[in-house]
């Protein structure tokens, strides 16, 4: 399949005539596309449709409006031409298509810490569109492995729309650097704190490292993450007061808070235990994940089950229950830990407490089974 995709990409590349490409200067320019650009636009429209039909878009009007509002502040002359939407995927990625569609994964939104950091990402992606990086890209063939990953990540068959794919898997080093530099200028011009651009990279670096798997993640694609951090540091060093400007941490937390629990659950469901642990083992955990942070951390440790994880999970969950005793899930996970550690009475108490708090949940039937098993074991003893 990968061979086929590469081959089709190569054919598309060979079929493309080399013509001069001018950047968009305003929204009005989108009416004047060349034949090749028109084809890219069509391919991007097809991808938009496929994502919508495959139910991959996060239907939260308030969040989408917030993303759009930030983007319009960054690109006022393209208002109505660049459309930003939240993509359900828990991975760290964002991508811009040739038709002005920008998708930001929920995984990335939930990892960022404030509006200024999100603005840094959106400015970067918007530049890919404005500078027509899709059309300029000359390295389709080199990108064949990335294309295959992109197809997998989006979960939609995209062989017919390959022309849009480099947007998702990462552009060339040159285009990524250009997007970083011009995006940075946009961000500063819109009044955001320049220092947050590099903090965004650093915040994401923690999780990208934990992810360990190769992938077209926004912050691990070309150029290498560390080089991009250094590039941003160089840009910031030219500012008199890089901390000055809009940061909007509280507002961002308020708007993104429901997404964070959703993303953590999706990451656990997807087996991304190390990433969840990397997200949650932080000093300011309670500021970002006020109630449930410890619960997810405990569950991720329990499921990862490396040496020492069970004991650490028990500590985290016990401490969480001291703060929020009415939360049900920590009791369930604690019960399972005690059961595995042979502490049968403690396991029993935890399970009973769980059922008392949450007897209608899908896990309740399993907990009842575990209780029956415990009764048998306790009777034997």
């Amino acid at each position: 399949m990968r061979m086929l995709i590469s081959l089709v990409a190569l054919l598309v590349l060979v079929g493309c005539k080399s013509t001069e490409i001018n950047s968009f200067t305003s929204g009005a320019d989108v009416q004047q596309l060349t034949e090749g650009e028109d084809r890219l636009w069509y391919g991007s429209d097809q991808l938009d449709k496929a994502l919508r039909k495959a139910r991959q878009l996060h239907k939260n009007d308030e969040l989408n409006a917030y993303l759009q509002q930030i983007n319009d502040r960054l690109f006022p002359e393209f208002k109505g031409k660049i459309r930003v939407r939240a993509h359900k995927a828990p991975y760290l990625n964002a991508f811009a298509l040739a038709n002005g569609s920008i998708y930001v994964n929920l995984g990335l939104i939930s990892t960022l810490e404030n509006e200024a950091q999100l603005a840094a990402v959106l400015a970067h992606e918007g530049i890919h569109f404005v500078e027509k990086h899709s059309a300029r890209q000359r390295a389709f063939a080199q990108n064949s492995a990335g294309l295959a990953v992109a197809v997998t990540l989006l979960g939609v068959p995209l062989a017919g729309e390959l022309i849009a794919m480099e947007a998702i898997s990462g552009y060339s080093r040159e285009h990524e650097l250009e997007a970083d530099n011009l995006g940075y200028q946009r961000m500063v011009k819109a009044g955001y704190s320049p220092a947050e651009s590099v903090k965004a990279f650093e915040a994401l670096a923690r999780e990208a490292k934990a992810a360990a798997k190769e992938g077209p993640f926004f912050f691990s694609s070309h150029p290498k993450l560390q080089q991009r951090i250094e590039n941003f540091n160089a840009l910031i060093s030219t500012e008199d007061n890089p901390e000055q400007g809009i940061v909007a941490t509280d507002d961002y937390h308020q708007r993104v808070e429901p997404v964070r629990a959703f993303v953590l659950r999706k990451k656990l469901d997807a087996g991304q235990y190390a990433e969840v642990i990397a997200s949650l083992e932080r000093e300011n955990l309670e500021q970002i994940y006020p109630v449930y942070g410890d619960h997810f951390l405990g569950e991720a440790l329990y499921l990862r089950n490396e040496e020492g994880d069970l004991n650490r999970a028990a500590e985290v969950l016990t401490s969480a229950l001291k703060k929020h005793p009415a939360e049900a899930d920590p009791h369930r996970v604690l019960g399972m830990i005690y059961m595995k550690q042979g502490e049968l009475d403690s396991a029993r108490l935890s399970f009973e407490k769980y059922l008392e708090l949450n007897q209608d949940s899908e896990r309740a039937a399993f907990v009842q089974l575990y209780l029956a098993d415990l009764d048998k074991k306790i009777d034997k003893e």
């Binding site: 039909k53 995927a89 997998t152 656990l268 469901d269 997807a270 399972m336």
Partner: protein
């Protein structure tokens, strides 16, 4: 009398027929041959007459009635050393049923790439006398077609068995689900 090129063609067709017969992709389940097992013979399942078996799926017993796109039942015994790709190493000692369900879901999501698979329900289930789980899931294709899945999982003598069914929600899922459930009831690991 056959001309030389006609003879060559006839030979070619005969050779192709021999080759095709040797690697038949599908086998119809005829009456009296309903008890089927995987290639290693680790379990048995009673497959309805006139369903067809997909022979190229070497890892599992995969059967369908109309075509794999319309309904597919797949039964397999997972690699005992590393049953779930989502886990770094071996399965933890004495995993609980919900652990198996969680690892299975993560593994399924990985196998399905970035497709947005949604878990609809998770309940305990008994398979060959052992406690396992039953999970219902769904996803949408890029054309908006809703696909539904049912997955059973159970650990028997240290081996994880997966019993899986997938069909479009439109007509096929409900229609052939009872048949799949009957196949699940007939599931018998050889060690049991």
């Amino acid at each position: 009398m056959l001309r030389k090129d006609n003879l060559f063609r006839a030979l070619l067709v005969m050779m192709l027929a021999v080759v095709m017969a040797g690697c038949q992709q599908w086998t119809r389940i005829d009456e009296g041959k309903n008890i089927q097992s995987d290639n290693e013979g680790t379990f048995e399942v009673e497959v309805p007459t006139y369903w067809v078996r997909h022979n190229f799926d070497r890892e599992a017993l995969a059967v369908t009635k109309d075509s794999p796109e319309l309904q597919m039942a797949r039964f397999m015994r997972r690699n005992t050393d590393k049953p779930f790709n989502s886990l770094e190493g071996k399965l933890p000692e004495s995993p609980l049923v919900t652990d198996l369900a969680d690892y299975y879901l993560a593994d399924l999501k990985e196998r399905m790439g970035g497709i947005e698979v949604e878990k609809l329900a998770l309940t305990p289930a008994t398979l060959a006398g052992e406690t396992g789980f039953r999970m219902e899931l769904r996803f949408f294709t890029e054309r908006g077609l809703e696909m539904k899945q049912v997955a059973y999982g159970v650990l028997i003598d240290g081996a994880f068995y997966e019993l899986f069914y997938q069909a479009p929600n439109l007509i096929y899922f409900e229609r052939d689900l009872p048949t799949f459930e009957q196949m699940v009831e007939s599931f018998k690991p050889k060690s049991a």
